[in-house]
């Protein structure tokens, strides 16, 4: 009897202890800078989940990117990212140097290792980010680059001087307890 009770409590405590933090309105911006044209787009519909063992998942609905020019947005979705076939960009993995001591109000540089999937092409990446606990939520910030060729996003010759091969991405999120 006692054994069963203890086992129950153990399993229950294990179950309850897996705390998570979440957002559904994270911001992802990207920039494509060339001599001819600068293109930028903002998405405020990114969602993210962080578990207290350092595992994480981020998801960005590609159709949520807003461009300055309506036609750019349409071309981005129809011709480049093929958003109907590949509706989301995702990054899933774990923080390599995760520590429970991060919840100290200081800014910590972490190495997020995982699989970055854009345009249906999954690539293993290590992305440096900063993580800060503000008392109630995690503030996540990250800047990294994405190579269009690596994700098989075709850029026709005609527009090659307008679209950069290397796209810089800027992520800002506040993850609150789930």
């Amino acid at each position: 009897m006692k054994v069963i009770l203890i086992a129950t409590m153990l399993v229950a405590s294990n179950f309850c202890s897996s705390q998570q933090w979440i957002t559904r309105n994270g911001t992802v911006e990207f920039f494509s800078a060339t001599i001819v044209e600068n293109i930028e787009a903002t998405n405020e519909m990114a969602s993210g989940l962080l578990a207290n063992d350092g595992r994480f998942a981020f998801r960005v609905p590609i159709l949520g990117f807003r461009f300055e020019k309506a036609l750019m947005e349409e071309h981005f979705n129809e011709n480049y990212l093929e958003s109907t076939r590949f509706p989301n960009g995702t990054f899933e993995g774990a923080i390599a140097n995760w520590s429970d001591a991060f919840q100290d109000g200081q800014s910590h540089t972490v190495k997020a290792q995982g699989i970055l999937t854009i345009h249906g092409i999954a690539i293993e990446r290590e992305i440096e980010s900063t993580l800060k606990w503000d008392g109630t939520a995690w503030i996540v910030q990250s800047e990294f680059t994405v190579l269009t060729a690596a994700h098989e996003i075709p850029i026709p010759k005609m527009v090659r001087e307008k679209i950069a091969e290397e796209i810089s991405v800027d992520v800002q999120m506040t993850l609150s307890p789930r």
Partner: protein, 296 residues
């Protein structure tokens, strides 16, 4: 009795443990991505049903976005069966220029001028209903209204008829569109055209036409388009049903539409109700639309 309740508790505990173990496994086995649940944008309006605001001659469901100026310059050359002397019609171009401005993402105003009968146009286009990605709204409905004014001096034979009102004609249409797949979109376009002045006394002032159009994407930036307009009773002249075939080529900010059609006029009254060319006679016109957008 006591043993029974002990057994009951034991049983319940075992089931509870089993359930907990299962749910933990479920959480562990499931990726964190799955735990995020449905995407914020799982349902969205369908975009890019057609590449341009026209299928060929007829309007598509598309409008320029908000604060976007859409400029179209279009040519129709002479009849292909004019032969080598007129370079198969290329000597003889008729032109139309149009400016459309998106007041919102779904409403636009337009003005245009054709060399054919020196016609001015002013138009209003409204995307009333947008198709949704999950088929909760399976169709798009766009309304288009255009008034056309002949600017030439030969619009009326008798001097009594030469009033401004008699220069005018109107077309109203509903563009019912559906994007079936990434590649294939169609539209059904019932149109009503009213002419204030007709050439002969027994000509009808009003004409209904039923049109159908579609596009099939051959490549990411190239599509094959066609449209057909069937004259529903009314006209007693020798007007023909309008049939056009074309190709859309998109290059960044431009869309080139190249086509062959039996309609020479590029505004609604002309191509819907006054088409004269016959496909079987080779009385066809080669032409193109070239569009460019400007953002404000």
């Amino acid at each position: 009795m006591k043993t029974f309740s002990t057994h009951l508790i034991l049983c319940c505990s075992l089931i509870f443990i089993g359930w907990l173990a299962l749910s933990v496994n479920e959480v562990r086995g499931q990726s964190l991505l799955d735990e995020l649940g449905a995407s914020e944008l799982a349902v969205h309006p369908v975009y890019a049903t057609f590449k341009d605001t026209r299928i060929i001659n007829v309007q598509s469901n598309e409008t320029p976005g908000q604060n976007v100026m859409h400029f179209v310059i279009a040519h129709r050359f002479g009849q292909i069966n004019e032969g080598a002397y007129a370079l198969w019609g290329l000597d003889n171009a008729s032109m139309r220029m149009a400016l459309d401005y998106g007041l919102t993402d779904r409403l636009c105003l337009g003005i245009a001028r054709s060399t054919f009968q020196k016609t001015f146009e002013s138009s209003l286009k409204w995307k009333a209903l947008q198709q949704k990605s999950d088929d909760s709204v399976p169709l798009g409905i766009t309304f288009y209204a255009v008034s056309m004014a002949r600017g030439d001096s030969t619009y009326a034979e008798s001097a009594d008829n030469r009033t401004f009102t008699n220069r005018l004609s109107y077309t109203y249409q509903a563009i019912i569109s559906r994007k079936w797949s990434e590649k294939f979109s169609t539209a059904i376009v019932p149109s009503f055209t009213h002419r204030n002045l007709v050439e002969f006394i027994d000509n009808a002032h009003d004409q209904w036409t039923l049109g159908a159009g579609g596009r099939y994407k051959l490549a990411q930036r190239v599509s094959l388009n066609c449209e057909y307009h069937f004259l529903l009773k009314g006209l007693k002249e020798s007007a023909q049903n309008s049939l056009s075939l074309g190709v859309d080529i998109e290059t960044g900010g431009h869309v080139f539409q190249l086509h062959i059609t039996n309609s020479r006029g590029m505004f609604e009254r002309a191509f819907l109700t006054e088409t004269t060319g016959r496909w079987r006679d080779g009385a066809l016109f080669f032409g193109f639309n070239l569009s460019r957008v400007f953002d404000f």
